[in-house]
Symmetry: C2
Subunit: 331 residues, 2 copies
Amino acid sequence: MRIAVDAMGGDIGPSVVVPGAVAGARSAGVGVTLVGRAAAVEAELAKVDRSGVDVRVVDAPDEIGMDEHPAQAIRRKPRSSIVLALRACKDGDAAGMVSAGNSGAVMAGALLVLGRIPGVDRPAIASYLPAKRGRTLVLDLGAVADPKPQNLVQFAIMGRVYAQRILGVANPTIGLLSNGEEPGKGNLFVQEVYPLLAATPGIDFRGNVEGRDVPMGTVDIVVTDGFTGNVALKTAEGTAAMMTDFIRAELTATLPRKLAAYLLRPAFRAVRARMDPGEIGGAPLLGVNGTAIIAHGRSDARAIENAVKVARQAAAEDLVGGIAAAVGGSG
Amino acid sequence: MRIAVDAMGGDIGPSVVVPGAVAGARSAGVGVTLVGRAAAVEAELAKVDRSGVDVRVVDAPDEIGMDEHPAQAIRRKPRSSIVLALRACKDGDAAGMVSAGNSGAVMAGALLVLGRIPGVDRPAIASYLPAKRGRTLVLDLGAVADPKPQNLVQFAIMGRVYAQRILGVANPTIGLLSNGEEPGKGNLFVQEVYPLLAATPGIDFRGNVEGRDVPMGTVDIVVTDGFTGNVALKTAEGTAAMMTDFIRAELTATLPRKLAAYLLRPAFRAVRARMDPGEIGGAPLLGVNGTAIIAHGRSDARAIENAVKVARQAAAEDLVGGIAAAVGGSG
């Protein structure tokens, strides 16, 4: 198996993506196709140990910036690293692709190049968020800001397939993100979605959940519209960053505190590992007809490595086939 | 000045509310009217030092549970502690009220008993959330799940008066919570609100902000619909609780870690104080024609004490008059 990696993606670019992709190829046991400006990619490749790893380079002269308008950029830059990595999947040269680039552009490109799985109305970005009990799969995190109520039924079905195939949860529990737990709670949209989910056969719908249930891990999967999901994700990330900052400031305020904190470094490393999105690696774009993994813009090499592993697993477990069967079965 | 306190409110009830209210009356320099079941209130009063504090007790035979339907409970229980505390404000016996009870019932009761400030279409629950830089005032946190776009203009105006009068920020900056910073980002609702805020004279509107900007403190005030605000608030609270849990588990995992962590207790206390909603005390219900402060259901005595201080300040600074003038001036 071979995974295509957008070597130009992310806030830092080839200097973290190339070593991360090579490490990912080695640990996942796959070949890797690095798509990007060939000179920049080769320069970074020269710095890493690529022994025993099947590495190919595909030159992509165009680059899509993090702030470019997604759909326009995809249309105007057919030779960008994002589009060519997606083409490698479409043409069968790769089983999946990873990009830490402009996530809107990855999504627009995936819809254009890979298309949707037959029966899927709208794709969704799904990712695990850290939780007290295990992890919580949340979708959508921003693919569709204004979905229709019935789209969330498909989000639940696609999330279920992901949790089953990738995390091995036999019968994942599903909650609907709302502003209260009682069945009547929610805005008008949630009140429309609730009965649709309750009437969907074959899913373990547990009703409304609140914002705190995401970090609590009350259910395995939380479904929401892409606007609310994006706000929740970024609020969670920002709160963790703020708290880390407060702790760092206090623990370095005096010399005795610094010494005590030094002794606790392994403990803080363990906390960071449980909180770190890089440990998860990447968020699959569920519903497109291929394996596209969106890595965080701030990904380091280890996050890219983990994203390659996610891509390999999604392809190996035939996530696309699973979703096609589940959506077809429900439609 | 006198503040009425719903003595039955909160998850714990009179045993924390009564000492908190008496402490708040003492530190804020106000009298306090404790509204609740007289026997229960008197029993708790007997345990606290009330010297020098003007304490009255108003018997309220009815109690509204945390899970009761707000509007129904208010109509069916006119002699509940929430309704009678609001009546004390309406009748001029108190300058403001505090309740840690069913927040939906406080809101429904405030609308019924106090009414809205002339010119205000919908009230909003506003609270400071902890932030890296200072604090961020967020509204609405759940009063209105499906506001109209123009309601958010009033939220911005009311939030501005609150930040000016209570926090002394001369010209608070205002952001609109969205799923991206660029002006075109957002769901359809946000895209309708944006130009309305941009066209509102006399406010310092800084455009869209993301979930992470709330804990970052990028702007002084974040306006949003009550559904999204509630999800963001609870996601932030839950994330902080999860992280605290992870840290506690790691720091107590071995004896050497426990010892080092013991030395750092003042540091962790300082972090907790910066994160703790109890330090802020209560969220005012902006837009109702009186001073109603909603305290967290999990309030301890110190949180109630701080909520009494918030009520005193809101009344002393004539928040209601300020909002009436600002909304009238803009309408």
